[in-house]
Structure formats: C-alpha cells, structure tokens
Symmetry: C2
Subunit: 324 residues, 2 copies
C-alpha cells in the first residue's frame, strides 16, 4: 500500500507519519511506501518501508499531478493555510485551501481507473453562529471566516467528485486540536493550547478571551486515530454525505484551567495571564461550542472523555510526564 | 445607475432586460446604462437609456475584469451551465459555474472602493435528498449534482466576499422556472415546462416521470420580480447569511396536468405522452419538493399562489391568451 500525506511536515502530518512508521501497516495492508509532501521538507521517521520527502506549492496544478502520478492508495490531505492567516491573506488562503484542494482532486480525477481513498481534514469552522446549544450532524454550513468557507468548498468538491466516482473521499471535521505541541502557529484558536502547553513547560501564556468561552477539543493523538480510521472505513456506509463532524470534548476555558489545576497545581495555573483581545474575542464568538457527533460515533470514531484526559495525553506524548 | 446582466441573452436575462427597459429605473434610481453580457449576443430591447451588448467567455479572468471596469452599481449574475449539461460535461460545468462566478467576484474585489450589489441566481439544487416534508431555510446543503455543488460554492464565495466587504451580494435560490418559454434547453427539469408549453402550442410533449413527482415552481414573471427585489433590498437585513430560498408553488406533475385541464381542456391534455425515462426519474428523485421560504417571504419576495396562476402567466406573457 502506497500512502501520500499532503501537509506531511505539519504537526498532525508528522504524528501520523510517526504512527504509520511504527505500525508498518494501515488497516489490514502493509505499507510499501510513504510520501511526505509539504511546502518545507518533512522530517522522516525511521520506518521499515520507503519514505519519500517532496516539497512544492500545492496551488500549482503540476505539483498535484506529479504527486499522484505514482497512484497512492490512500491520500491524506492535511495541507492548509490556517484560520488566522487565511483571514489576513485573502489570496493565499484561497490559493492554497481552495485551489490546492481542487487541483489535488482534479489530478486524481484525470487518471483513468484510479479511485484512491482521500481523507480531507475539514474543520468545525464550516459552521458559523448563531448555533443551537448542541450542533447536530445536519446543521447547515454558514462559515464566518474565509478558512471555514474554503474548507466547506473542499467538502463540497470531495462530495461531488466522490459521487461521480473519480475518488473515494471522506471529509473529517476535526475538533480544535488541543494541546497542540511546539510553537504557536497563526491559527486564531492557538490560545486554547497555549494556556495549557506553555504553563506546563514553565512559561507564561496569554489568554485573550473570557473564561466563559466554550469550545470543542480533541488531542493530537485522537486526531491521528481519526485519520487512520477514516482511511480504512467502508465508504459505502457514508452514502452521499461524505462529511463527518468528529467527536470531541466541549469545555469552557475556565474548565480547561480547572483541569490544569487538578493535574499541575496552582503554581502552573498562575502562569496564565489574562489579556483580553477584542479581535480574537469577536472571531471566537462565531465559533461552535458543542456537537452531537452521532454519525461519526456510530461509525467508530472515538475521542477523549474529559479535558483532564487531553492534558494527560499531552504529558505522556510530549513531556514524558514532566511538569516544570 | 449602471446595470450589468451576466447571462443577458438567456431567457430570464432577456425578460429582466425587457422589464428594466420598460421601467427606466430600478428601485428609486434612474437607469443610465445597461450591459447585456453572454456567450452569444443578447437581443436589445428598446429603451430610453444606453444598452451595450458584449460577448465572451466568463471563465476567463480578463472577461470579468473588462465587464466590471465601468463599475456597474448592480450586477445580475445569471450565467450558468444548466444541470443536465453540467452533469454531462464535468469540465465545462466547473469552468463556467465555479470559475466564472469566482472570477466575477474577484474582478470586483480588486477594484478599490467598489462594492456593488451582486444578485446571484442560485438554485434549489443546492439541496439533496433525503429531505423533510417541507424544507426549512436552514436545511443543510447536500447537493447531489455537479450543478448544485457549483451553485452552493457560488453561494459560499458570495457570503465570504460580502462579509469581507468587497461586494454586497445576495444569492437567490430560484424555484424551477415554469412555464419556461421557447425551445427546451438541457436542464433536466425541462419536462415540467414542456408538458404545459408544448400542448398549449398544439404540440405533443413527453412526460418522462410519474404523475406523483412533486416539485417547486415559480413563473418567469415571478423570477424577474425576485431579481428586481433582490437588487434593491437592504443587505443588512440578511446579516451574514446571504442565501435565500425563494417562495414558490409545490405541486405534483398530476396536479400540473389537472391545472392544464381546467384552463385548456382535455384535448390539450391529451397531447402529453407518458414515456418513462429511468435516468431522469432517478435524477429527479433527489430533488426537493417543497420549502418553507419563511425568510424570503418576510423580506417581501412573492410568488404565484397556484399552478393555475402560473399557466395563466404563461398564456398572458407568451401566447396572447391563445390556446391552440
């Protein structure tokens, strides 16, 4: 089985690659080759199969054509300009998130008798306020950001191309990934992770919104499981509606902080500095807070059960259990 | 006031142009100039203001740039590859319906301090089965055709570009226009009109689906009123959800035929020949049947009250009241 990860240098792409390298297989098939594509060279995990590293600009049609020429059996399309940057740079967001996605699907389409599974990481940003208390699977898509708009368009293309038999796509709407390791990126949602990760590492973190802000989270470890499951699920079970809202944990920022206090104590919590930011508060007010991920749960997707568990995953996977 | 109609040679574009020519104004402003753009030269109505006729390929970026260089105050974007053709010709549908729409919005976006009202004719094809008995305004978009996918993407782009202040857009989801005058086009929905228009003109019509098929209709005259109203409505009343499902009449094919019988008699109805077509039946089974067009009605959009009225509009506007 050949696998391609578009966006393979990103945080989720790297964790997925590491997991595939350890397993040596996906579903019930051995992996023969893994290609990690990104705008910068991806790190390669040690693996018992061949790993290729490729770089390029996904918004150029020729890039996608080259990437899929070897006809990978499974394509994970994780590449994206994140929400804050797509809002700040209109052209870049559309070029990468819309054109890049469409070119990838088109490059697959024009190869005869080639119908790979494509797992597209969509986002809960496909939804926009006002919301019901808990958002059902069939809530309408009314994104309030360019990023959410671009992800929704990606879902629509995936549905149509899949319906027409040129690919076998699944869009998974990831919760906000928390605790995101490493340096902050330009995602406007970054503070949800910053206020956990930085204090645990001995650093100060800025909280730009009120403690009452509620949001929807899953860990990076859960994200990798979502991707692996989406790659091997029977597409027929999805029918013509190929987009899934994935399970997660709904907590307020205040509840995140109390979970941190239970696990790491007052000293660590004291490293969170409240500094309200009107622009971020405004953007976050349009974000969803809670979902009934009924379809995805019925299809076997699983997330954490509490925010405490999410923090413990971070401690295990990133910090070797050590709190500074 | 300068007005541009993209798709000005089409049936709805021509009727809109004729109405604007008669009125000489739109809302409370005099019309100074009307441009009719299409892939073929549009007929020009006699008018008390200047009318330009332009031709070109809307899928080329330069075409849109030229069209909007004069900064029309209102742009009606009616141009589209219809459902049957967009399904038969994948590339053409995406090129015109997606790229063409995006180029138009982009051409407007890059002109500083230019924020025209753009009225985009979307379609009830943005919805796909399974449906509730009557479809609410906030039903999710799950199109089952490439045409419906492309219209949904157009709506999303319109929402995002409007939110970002580069245009002032409104998407109106027209019911199926019935009775469509003239020759049949490639829309898969053509038979809904054919079975009324052709018998009234003394010709045989083929009915490819069962009498129980229910669908959602409004007349060409109603469509022109929808467009005029959408051009002048206060955009702020729409908030961030710029797509409106418009009112119409929900009738079965059998009810259409009984209305025809009441107005034109058994002799005319006898000209309908039943010839089931599996492909059309299959496609139509995924189409919506009835809507609660609550938002649009509250905003003042009005359609016919019965299918009899729709037939009478056809008799008045197309046949001078004469049944053959």
């Amino acid at each position: 089985m050949k696998i391609l990860i578009v966006g393979g240098a990103g945080m989720v792409g790297q964790k997925l690659a590491a997991r595939l390298a350890v397993d040596g297989r996906l579903g019930n098939q051995d992996i023969s080759e893994l290609t990690l594509f990104d705008v910068v060279p991806a790190d390669q995990p040690a693996a018992g199969f061949r790993i290729n590293v490729a770089t390029g600009d996904i918004s150029e049609m020729s890039t996608s054509a080259e990437l899929v020429a070897s006809q990978p059996d499974v394509i994970f399309h994780l590449a994206a300009i994140v929400s804050g940057e797509a809002e700040a740079d209109f052209d870049k967001g559309y070029r990468i998130n819309l054109d890049g996605t469409r070119h990838l699907f088109d490059a697959v389409r024009v190869i005869p008798n080639y119908v790979p599974r494509i797992v597209f990481t969509s986002s809960i940003a496909v939804f926009g306020a006002p919301f019901p208390d808990s958002i059902p699977d069939d809530f309408h898509n009314t994104p309030l950001t360019s990023y959410g708009t671009q992800k929704t368009i990606g879902e629509l293309l995936l549905n149509d191309f899949t319906r027409r038999g040129t690919m076998d796509g699944i869009s998974i709407r990831l919760p906000t990934i928390c605790v995101r390791p490493g340096r902050p990126n330009k995602a406007a949602s970054g503070f949800f992770s910053n206020i956990i990760r930085e204090p645990l590492a001995g650093h100060e973190a800025v909280l730009p919104v009120d403690d009452s802000v509620r949001h929807w989270h899953a860990s990076p470890r859960a994200a990798v499981e979502f991707l692996r499951h989406a790659a091997t699920i029977d597409g027929a079970e999805l029918g013509n509606r190929r987009s899934l809202t994935l399970p997660g944990i709904s907590v307020t920022v205040g509840e995140q902080i109390e979970a941190l206090r239970r696990i790491a104590g007052d000293k660590v919590v004291a490293r969170i500095r409240r500094q309200p930011d009107e622009a971020i508060t405004q953007m976050v007010s349009g974000w969803p807070q809670r979902f009934n991920a009924t379809r995805a749960q019925a299809l076997g997707f699983k997330a954490e059960q509490s925010f405490d568990e999410i923090i413990k995953v971070h401690l295990e996977d990133e910090l070797k259990g050590i709190i500074r």
